[in-house]
């Protein structure tokens, strides 16, 4: 047997890296089409009346949200896990045939679920629960994928050389456990075909909960899917990649532990803010509101910790587009975790609820924080995985500024649109008659919808630049030696 030195095995990380890029483009492309449909309704039938069933807003909307959440983001989470997990535990996947098999199985099963999800959503097969649209057979497959990942996580931890689990590992474990719990409880459903003795489609189901209970479980899930999908694993990434890329250890490790437990403690109670002024008990609404405001503390604990990690090293932000991505991601994290609690205050929510301001909030978090951090992570991993430098630094810089402009256009237009919308909905005359009809608001908002579509298109253009840069990095960039890969990633001009 050839006696080679032990190396980390990035096979599975690489596969998930590819699915991150492909599903990111798909999800964001659908999002951009939706944005143009909102601004110009004729786009709904752009492929002809015959195909309108597949191109209209309501058919494509879950495809957008699920592709960016469960496609782009989740692939990014898996890819970074299979990279960071090995490195901070100081153990290679190559050391265990079983773990390697689990990793590959994880990817294969995940792809099957992706195909099933895209197919079923395009055909209009859905449970109608937001972010939980998959019917029961797919839900069961999702659970299998998740358990496979979990076995991989704990298996790798079991054979580690590093005794202490680095803070990122804690966040990945929380992601695994959090989503497992949320997904199982929210997707408790009854297959109608079997329950009714053969009526309707075999794959159809209805939620086990009804009315207010269903709403409560749904938003406990919906909000915490943001927590354990868009926050916790992305924090895991930044706690590893920013220190590694900048060569600076995390500013305060104690603060990172404290922020972790704070986040775990507070986040699960905040979901009630999605149901303010609805039929859930008032005390529950107040609790959702209060916990949302308290949530600023652990969120900012992590974000400030990241910014302080750059203390005395701010020249790196100017010099490296990769650090720029991460510092802006951290800044957007602070920004959206301040904006969210503000929107959860009852008096603010009375204006903001159901308006486009909420859509703006979601997107400054996802585009600015989640998207930027995942792309930065992939940029950092690529030279280590492919042993080549990042193809073009200037292209990366261009992408950064185009996408930043896109995000700014997106959230500013949605702020104005949302607040205008909220004000118009509640305006009334001296007798209490509503001053505007719904279509009045739509006419006023149309220019802002157009600006949003332009912003989204810019972000998508950046995504194509990213994909091109990554493709060139994988295939034709200059080869690098191990010694060039210690901290700052090597980049071509």
């Amino acid at each position: 047997m050839e006696n080679r030195p032990l190396e980390y095995d990035y096979t599975v990380a690489k596969w998930f890296m590819l699915s991150t890029i492909v599903l990111g483009i798909v999800g964001m492309l659908v999002g951009v089409i939706l944005a143009w449909e909102m601004a110009f309704p004729a786009v709904n039938t752009i492929a002809g009346e015959g195909l309108a069933e597949y191109t209209n807003f309501s058919r494509l909307r879950p495809l957008h949200t699920d592709a960016v959440i469960f496609g782009f983001t989740l692939s990014g989470i898996f890819s970074t896990w299979y990279y960071i997990g090995q490195r901070v535990l100081k153990v290679s996947m190559a050391e265990s045939k079983f773990l390697m098999f689990l990793g590959k199985l994880h990817f294969a099963l995940y792809l099957l679920v992706v195909v099933a999800v895209v197919g079923s959503l395009l055909l209009g097969i859905t449970t109608s629960k937001e972010y939980a649209e998959f019917e029961w057979p797919i839900d069961i497959a999702v659970v299998v994928v998740w358990v496979t990942w979990g076995m991989g996580i704990f298996g790798l931890i079991g054979i580690r050389r590093e005794k202490s689990l680095y803070i990122s590992i804690w966040y990945y474990i929380a992601t695994f456990l959090g989503i497992a719990m949320l997904y199982l409880f929210n997707n408790m459903e009854i297959p109608t075909y079997f329950a009714s003795g053969g009526i309707g489609a075999w794959y159809h189901s209805v939620s086990m909960y009804s009315g207010t209970n269903d709403a409560l479980v749904q938003w406990w899930y919906g909000h915490n899917a943001v927590a354990f999908g868009f926050t916790v694993p992305i924090v895991a990434m930044i706690y590893y990649f920013l220190p590694k890329e900048s060569g600076q250890a995390v500013y305060s490790y104690k603060l990172s532990l404290l922020a972790f437990w704070g986040l775990m403690f507070v986040y699960l109670w905040a979901g009630g803010h999605h149901l303010l002024f609805s039929t859930v008990p008032d005390w529950m609404q107040t609790m959702g509101s209060v916990f949302s405001v308290v949530l600023i503390l652990p969120s900012w604990g992590s974000a400030i910790n990241m910014l302080l990690t750059m203390k005395g090293e701010w020249q790196q932000v100017a010099a490296s587009p990769l650090i720029k991505f991460m510092v802006l991601a951290s800044t957007f994290y602070m920004f959206s975790t301040l904006e969210g609690p503000i929107q959860a205050i009852k008096s603010v929510n009375a204006l903001a609820h159901f308006t486009d301001w909420i859509v703006g909030h979601v997107h400054d978090g996802t585009l600015g924080w989640v998207g930027f951090m995942i792309m930065a992570a992939l940029f950092h991993m690529a030279p280590r995985i492919f042993k080549r430098e990042i193809y073009s630094k200037s292209l990366m810089g261009t992408q950064f500024w185009i996408q930043t402009l896109g995000v700014v256009l997106y959230f500013t237009s949605m702020w104005i649109a949302g607040i205008t919308q909220g004000m118009m909905w509640r305006a009334h005359d001296e007798f209490g008659n509503l001053a505007y009809s719904f279509i009045d608001t739509v006419a006023v908002l149309q220019p802002y919808f157009t600006i949003r579509a332009v912003g989204g298109t810019l972000y998508l253009v950046g995504m194509f630049l990213f994909a091109y840069n990554m493709y060139k990095t994988m295939t034709s960039s200059r080869r690098v030696e191990e010694s060039e890969l210690q901290n700052a990633s090597p980049m071509g001009a």
Binding site: P5, K90, E162, K163, S164, Y166, Y239, K244, L257, F265
Partner: protein, 68 residues
């Protein structure tokens, strides 16, 4: 006392208990570092020295192996 009141008290005291645990943990983190019983900050280096050939910051010791 009906069940709802009981739940409300239970919820309040449980939350208060968790808050106390969280503050206790903060106290523990900073006092352990100050007294020198445990240096938490060294774990930040796990990310920086993460080559497979690097010495682990805190190796799984032989005694740990035996315990398993």
């Amino acid at each position: 006392m009906d069940i709802a009141t009981f739940q409300a008290y239970g919820y309040f005291f449980f939350t208060a208990f968790l808050v106390a645990v969280l503050y206790g943990y903060i106290y523990h983190l900073y006092s352990a570092q100050k007294k020198g019983t445990r240096d938490y900050e060294k774990y930040g280096n796990i990310a920086l020295h993460d080559d497979i050939t690097d010495q682990p910051i805190e190796e799984i010791s032989k005694t740990d192996e035996i315990k398993k």
